[in-house]
């Protein structure tokens, strides 16, 4: 039940919370009828119990990527380290570890990084479909999951109003930065695993967690980098 697999696939623990969770997992078979006493637990223990033992979540539902809801709720090392009460960041050493592991996790496409079709990239950037479960499951067999980029970023000027500001503005990205090899590589790596550059960023790990395929990433890259793309007009 408990996983502690970091970015490079090696088993690690960070800050003792990993040890606690492991202990909790092995001691876990609590009788559902027994009244649980949250006052005897630390807040972390109570939260873990609420998630995994109290019936608060649909843990047995099958996920689009395989596995069940339970796996979605188990934190990996990065998620644990980046879950700081109050919303701050972990210490500099931990951040450096996260960044290094993220960099090591990056896999590059066969035949090298290539830009795809920016028009497909637009559809993928705009679409917020995919990977949602619970009461209204996103069916990936009938509709392609998107990157939901517009949720957090401003991109094409035409979508100025209905685009988010949680992430930096990307309007005019290639116009401003050019499209040399280093820039193209940077964009790829940011989409694949942005923690390589910004440890504990709120941006998802689209490549590493296989939220997007290599082909989809190539289309999104075109949307950001192709001089013809509306993003760069």
């Amino acid at each position: 039940m408990y996983k502690s697999i970091d970015q490079s696939g090696k088993l690690r623990t960070i800050a003792g919370i990993g040890i606690l969770a492991a202990a909790l997992a092995t001691a876990s078979s609590v009788n559902a009828d027994e009244a649980v006493d949250y006052t005897k637990m630390t807040p972390e223990e109570a939260a873990e119990y609420m998630i995994f033992e109290s019936g608060s979540f649909n843990l047995s539902q099958e996920m689009q990527e395989g596995g069940t809801g339970r796996e979605r709720m188990v934190q990996d090392d990065l998620q644990k380290a980046c879950s700081v009460i109050g919303g701050g960041k972990p210490d500099a050493d931990t951040l450096a570890e996260i960044s290094k592991a993220a960099r090591e996790s990056i896999e590059y496409p066969e035949g090298g990084i290539k830009l795809g079709d920016w028009q497909k990239g637009y559809e993928l950037a705009w679409s917020g479909f995919g990977f949602r479960v619970g009461h209204n499951f996103d069916n990936h067999e009938t509709r392609e999951p998107g990157g939901n980029c517009y949720n957090c970023h401003k991109l094409a000027p035409q979508r100025e109003i209905a685009s988010g500001t949680i992430g930096p503005r990307l309007t005019g990205f290639a116009k401003d930065r050019g499209t040399d090899e280093a820039t193209v590589k940077y964009v790829y790596e940011m989409i694949y695993n942005p923690h390589a550059y910004f440890p504990c960023t709120y941006m998802p790990r689209f490549g590493y967690k296989k939220l997007l395929t290599q082909e989809q990433i190539s289309h999104l890259m075109a949307y950001i980098l192709d001089p013809e793309s509306p993003v760069n007009q």
Binding site: S56, F57, R132, H135, N136, S163, T165, I166, Y202, K209
Partner: protein, 280 residues
């Protein structure tokens, strides 16, 4: 016919029926928040909603709830005036603003959803699968009518859920852990969207948990969701967030849901509730 119309007039002239005794309307509470926070992008994001609030459809839902609340119902044929929402049986003034709270009779920390259900089942005698108990979402559900009515009696009151009982504190603290817990396919936690001020998801400006004057409106549920044409509950909002965060599905009336609402109400403590509110 004419007599009926004449009798109705004072009701219409008085405005929404289900107001709290402080005589405030939700728009009054919101206007004060707006006046005191001119720089808040979150509070100021919808001029249209501010204009529509005095005619909020949620008022009708609250009135329907008032009728349900005060009518003897169920196998035991008693009204919900027999029910204790934390300040004694039948006392609704400011009660919702002090929830979630520990209840002696159940030994549990309960939110409004679970407390209404408890009342329907244990006091009124309804079966738990009776539609009046089971149907939790939508303006036309008894549950939302009751929630909206009961909550409206806390409009303008300061959020003040008790933390005296150790279980109340345990729920609040667990809720804090859950709020900052990053998980799921996209590594999101509540903190991913609700720490910074003035940030947008697409066109919607987000409230910051660090700004109590924004957060007090943020946690003001039940609220009419204009884009969904229905009054929505606290749990409905939590469920929607958990859903968008790509976590596993969260269940209504669950310990985790109550813990999250316990923490998030605590973060609005001392600030006035806008009930029922209006949101996008």
């Amino acid at each position: 016919m004419l007599k009926h119309a004449l009798l109705a007039l004072p009701l219409l002239a008085a405005g929404p029926l289900a107001l709290a005794d402080n005589g405030k309307e939700p728009i009054d509470v919101l206007q004060e928040l707006l006046d005191n926070n001119k720089d808040s992008k979150y509070l100021w994001q919808s001029e249209q909603n501010v204009m529509m609030m005095p005619d909020s459809p949620a008022y009708w839902v609250a009135e329907e709830g008032a009728e349900l609340f005060h009518t003897p119902r169920g196998p035991n044929n008693v009204s919900m005036e027999e029910c204790d929402f934390g300040k004694g049986p039948g006392v609704l003034e400011g009660a919702y603003a002090e929830m979630p709270r520990y209840f002696e009779d159940t030994g549990k920390v309960m939110d409004l959803e679970t407390r209404i259900v408890h009342c329907q089942v244990n006091v009124q005698g309804f079966a738990s699968d009776d539609p009046t108990v089971k149907q939790r979402h939508g303006s036309s559900s008894d549950h939302m009518r009751l929630q909206t009515y009961i909550a409206s009696k806390s409009n303008g009151y300061e959020w003040n859920p008790p933390l005296d009982h150790p279980l109340e504190k345990a729920f609040r603290d667990a809720g804090q852990v859950l709020f900052y817990r990053r998980a799921g396919a996209t590594d999101f936690g509540c903190q991913s969207c609700h720490i910074d001020e003035g940030k947008q998801i697409r066109a919607s400006v987000l409230p910051s948990v660090k700004n109590p004057q924004e957060w007090t409106k943020a946690v003001s549920w039940p609220a009419i969701r204009v884009g969904q044409d229905n009054v929505r509950s606290t749990f409905h909002r939590i469920r929607g967030c958990v859903y968008q965060m790509r976590h596993a599905g969260i269940l209504g009336g669950s310990d985790a849901a109550i813990a999250i609402s316990s923490f998030w109400t605590d973060q609005a403590r001392g600030n006035p509730a806008v009930l029922p509110d209006m949101k996008r």
